[in-house]
C-alpha cells in the first residue's frame, strides 16, 4: 500500500514519515504568518494533529498532501491570530530598518506595528503574506481556500484599514 493510503487508513508509521517529510515546510509557512518561532513550532504540531484527526477525509488518490497540509496550517495560524490578536504584540526582536535617515523612525514604526496588529485576523493574514512576505495572490488563495480575487479584495481592505488607523495615530499616509 502507498504511503498516503496507509496514512489515510490510520497507520502511525506512515503518519510519522509524512510528518518528517513536511514539518520543515509547514513550519516555514506558519512562521511567516505568526512571526514567532516558538508559536510556529506549537502550531506546526497543532497542524499535524488536525491532519491526523482528519486523515479519513483525505483522498490519497486525488489528494495533494502538501497543498492540504498548507491549507490546514493556514487555518491553524489564522485561529491563532484570531485568539491572540488582543493579547500579543509582534515580537520585539524582529529586525527593523533603523538608519538615521530613515523616513520612519521609532515612534512611527511602533504605530505602524500597532495598526497592523489591530487588523482583523483574516486581513492580517493576507496583508502579512501579500505585503510583507510578497507571496503571490494565487499562492495565498490556495493556502487560505479562497479565490485570488478575494485575496485582492482583502489586501485592498487591509490597506484601507491601515491607512485609516495610521491617520488616526497621526501618521500621514496619503490616499491615492
Amino acid at each position: 500500500m502507498e504511503l498516503l493510503e496507509r496514512f489515510a487508513a490510520g497507520d502511525l508509521e506512515a503518519f510519522e514519515t509524512l510528518f518528517r517529510q513536511h514539518q520543515k515546510e509547514v513550519y516555514a509557512w506558519i512562521v511567516r504568518i505568526v512571526r514567532d518561532s516558538g508559536i510556529a513550532e506549537d502550531l506546526t504540531v497543532e497542524t499535524f494533529w488536525r491532519i491526523y484527526r482528519a486523515r479519513q477525509r483525505f483522498d490519497p488518490a486525488a489528494g495533494n498532501f502538501r497543498a492540504w497540509a498548507r491549507r490546514i496550517a493556514t487555518n491553524a495560524a489564522l485561529d491563532h491570530l484570531r485568539h491572540a490578536r488582543r493579547e500579543t504584540e509582534l515580537p520585539e526582536d524582529l529586525p527593523c530598518v533603523a538608519s538615521e535617515d530613515s523616513a520612519v523612525r521609532g515612534e512611527t514604526r511602533e504605530r505602524i506595528r500597532q495598526a497592523f496588529r489591530e487588523l482583523p485576523a483574516k486581513y492580517r493574514l493576507v496583508a502579512t503574506l501579500a505585503l510583507i512576505e510578497e507571496e503571490p495572490y494565487n499562492s495565498i488563495a490556495d493556502a487560505a481556500g479562497i479565490s485570488a480575487a478575494l485575496v485582492k479584495v482583502r489586501v485592498f481592505r487591509a490597506v484601507r484599514m491601515l491607512r485609516k488607523k495610521l491617520n488616526s495615530f497621526g501618521v500621514e499616509v496619503a490616499a491615492k
Binding site: 518561532s37 513550532e41 527593523c96 520612519v104 505602524i112 485582492k152 489586501v155 490616499a175
Partner: protein
C-alpha cells in the same frame, strides 16, 4: 492601477516597521512533541463519556433497585 500604487506605498511603509521573516528554518525535530500530543489526546476522556457516567451514577443512586438488573444485563 490606483490600488496597485496604494499597495506599493503601504508595502514600503510596512516594510520599514515589519521586515519579512528571513530565518524560516526549523531547528529541531518536532516528532517527539507530536507524539506527546497524540498520547495526551488519546488518553483524554471525552466530555460526553463523563456526562454519561454522571447520569448513570445518578440513576443508580436514585434507584438502587436497578443495580441487579444492570448487573444481569452486563
Amino acid at each position: 492601477m490606483i490600488n496597485e500604487e496604494n499597495n506599493k506605498e503601504m508595502k514600503e511603509l510596512l516594510k520599514q516597521a515589519i521586515t519579512p521573516v528571513k530565518d524560516t528554518e526549523l531547528r529541531r525535530d518536532l516528532w517527539p512533541q507530536m507524539l506527546r500530543k497524540l498520547d495526551q489526546q488519546h488518553s483524554r476522556v471525552p466530555w460526553f463519556d463523563w456526562a454519561l457516567a454522571a447520569i448513570l451514577s445518578a440513576i443508580l443512586f436514585l434507584f438502587p433497585g436497578a443495580i441487579p438488573a444492570l448487573l444481569y444485563h452486563l
